[in-house]
Symmetry: C2
Subunit: 281 residues, 2 copies
């Protein structure tokens, strides 16, 4: 039961590109999730929660199912304002970021007295229930280059990470529906994801991660032509690039995309993960 009638609080949650994953459905959403690895980005979502109603993303009124679920679970009536430079529906985990940011900011604004793990679980379950993501929330809560060793929220999953801070470039060619992919047969994809994770744990480096991502995208048959072309161009220029799961987005380490003649967005790794940025005194 939240204690306060509410004030304003703001959270920042990094964007997250997944490089490979295996899907692990479970009737209990807290235990459902994905194994895999990705990168938490310094480009992310800033979420401000105040008493009221309605959700806005970059000033446009939107309906984000996981946000409504988070507010319901916390039993608060709140207005949610999210701002992000990240492309939408393109594999950056924006819905997970808004869900987690809403949980963190609403907890602070309404004195809900939850721990971080409890808030991460609320946001994770809301994403799983909506079918909009399986592993973004736990990765976004952790920050860095998260490796999801086991599927699920904080009580079930466990995480590791690659100790590195590469510069990241990315370009986006358009949307790809997470819901459509996740609601199809994911057995081929998951087999490729398990193999990629095994490879990464043998050689936990950024270079090996990027290679594992490429092998996964090919084996899972998720590459689109524009994505394939960009990855090939980066590799021809001596760099490493991979596809963001799930979006028509290519991310590269270092100057991979700019060296290949693209004009990418540039960011870094966010080492901290989701957090309050406007402390409530």
């Amino acid at each position: 039961m939240c204690e306060s009638a509410g004030r304003s609080a703001t959270a920042f949650v990094p964007g997250h590109v997944t490089g490979f994953f295996s899907a692990h459905p479970n009737p209990d959403p807290a235990a459902a999730g994905s194994r895999g690895a990705g990168i938490a980005l310094s480009d992310g979502v800033t979420v401000t929660v105040t008493p009221g109603s309605g959700t806005r993303l970059n000033s446009d009124a939107v309906d984000i199912a996981p946000v409504d679920t988070v507010l319901d679970r916390l039993d608060v009536a709140a207005s949610v304002d999210a701002e992000t430079p990240l492309p939408l529906g393109a594999g950056f985990g924006v819905s997970g970021a808004v869900a987690l940011g809403t949980a963190l900011a609403a907890n602070a604004a309404f004195d809900c007295r939850k721990t971080e793990n409890e808030l991460i679980e609320v946001a994770h379950c809301a994403e799983v229930d909506a079918g909009t993501g399986l592993g973004d929330v736990v990765a976004q809560a952790r920050g860095g280059l998260p490796i999801r060793l086991d599927p699920g929220g904080p009580r079930h999953g466990s995480l590791d990470g690659l100790p590195a801070t590469p510069r990241i470039e990315y370009v986006t060619f358009g949307e790809l529906s997470t819901e459509t992919v996740l609601s199809s047969d994911t057995s081929q994809l998951s087999e490729a994801g398990e193999a990629a994770l095994d490879d990464l744990l043998v050689e936990p480096t950024v270079e090996a991660f990027m290679l594992a991502c490429d092998e996964f995208a090919a084996a899972a048959e998720l590459l689109t032509d524009d994505v394939s072309e960009a990855i090939a161009a980066v590799e021809a220029a001596g760099g490493q690039a991979a596809m963001a799961m799930l979006g028509r987005t290519v991310f590269a380490t270092g100057n991979g995309l700019s060296d290949a003649g693209y004009e990418p967005a540039v960011c870094g790794v966010d080492p901290a993960g989701g957090r309050l940025v406007d402390p409530v005194a």
Copy 2:
């Protein structure tokens, strides 16, 4: 086996004040540790590792047993330069920070290809073996306001956190030997620590944390006169303060110490935990 002859790499690790804890020895250092809660501070230790030998702390040659152990485990010959504004031997987890920073930076400098959990475990075990700390390393790796739910390194322990970012003030009156306290009978202390953790998990807020710290320090009979006096002065001025375990250090939230007439050092919470800051290209 590390792959490179070595170059230079730098890591930052936050200081950490423990507010209360229970000690959980174990013949396996990876499983040994403490339960409890504390604060990862934006004041921390910057550790630069290069090929060579010798350890320096704020430019003075020093012998830090856990640092030697970390370098031995990674099988590298390195020079370690640590810089910190934090007082030494005063409950800020400087030895744990140097150990973890050495692990992170040496891994990058020598291409040791370890994951973050593996590096945290190396540093945690080195601290436990040296008797210089039980729970600082895992808390410093996590960042935020870490709650150590279970003792041990990443394969054994589990962590939660308080979602808050208070301003922190601190004053130090002198050293207190962690080794002496930890090598004495810790049963009374641990009983008080378990009770404090139970209380915090019922009400996971910063206010409840500070109260739990005070009850722990009194029950564990660790308060010194100068520390008691400062805590009482802060409380008389309407604030909250507690003793850093283990040091003759008082930390307060908000303006607690300055409102009580002290001239404290001021910092914030470090949300990210130990990380590379000088990426190896």
